[in-house]
């Protein structure tokens, strides 16, 4: 018998949770559309795909927001340090001879 060390090593089908709930007609239609289009084999996996996409969008928004916040929050010293490094690495990259 094979033992999985962590949950993430298990195939998705082995650690699924059962839910019983109602959703809007629109949402149901969308999930069925994912199945009929062949993107996923079952309604259950259509829910997984929809959640995965939502989490991906959430992560993207968080990364964009926090990256912007990082640069916005830099003080005078921090901005000067970034500018120094920026011009130093830009000049060094310029030295690479791609002809070699």
């Amino acid at each position: 018998m094979y033992y999985y060390r962590t949950k993430s090593q298990m195939p998705a089908t082995l650690h699924r949770r059962k839910i019983s709930t109602t959703i809007s007609a629109d949402a149901y239609e969308f999930l069925e559309h994912l199945v009929s289009e062949g993107q996923v084999p079952s309604l259950a996996q259509a829910v997984d795909l929809a959640v995965e996409r939502a989490r991906q969008m959430e992560n993207r928004a968080r990364l964009e927001r926090d990256t912007a916040a990082y640069f916005k929050a830099l003080g005078r010293k921090g901005r000067a340090g970034e500018a120094r490094l920026e011009s130093a690495v830009a000049a060094s990259a310029d030295e690479i001879d791609f002809g070699n």
């Binding site: 968080r62 929050a73 921090g78 920026e86 130093a88 690495v89 060094s92």
Partner: protein
Amino acid sequence: MAAATHDHTPTPRRGEIWTANLGHPPRRHWVLIVSLDSRNLSDRVSSVLMIPFGSAGAEGPTSLRLEPGETGLPGPSYLKGHFITTIMKACLLKREGRVLSQSKMRAVVEIIRRSFDPDAPWEPPSAAGRK
């Protein structure tokens, strides 16, 4: 601080901290080697991938604060993944004493990835701590 100088083409390894000449006119900076050793040690490739240390900054999706005990540098420093670039091996002046641990290098890969991949996983440290 332990240091080695060289009078031939340097052979840096991934995870090593080096003093390097960057920019025009050249100024000394501490840099972290991030490219794979197959490239770093090859005599057919004259450049390596590196990211520079900054003494000022803050932690963020693409920036990682390191303590002197981890780097051997004189004070806290910030690795900036958004400045990943190539550098000629000839610009590497001196190998510093410390090599970053595997787990720190994992974190370094993540800050670099977040600088160009919108789908790179990111949880702010405070949010991760709540889990």
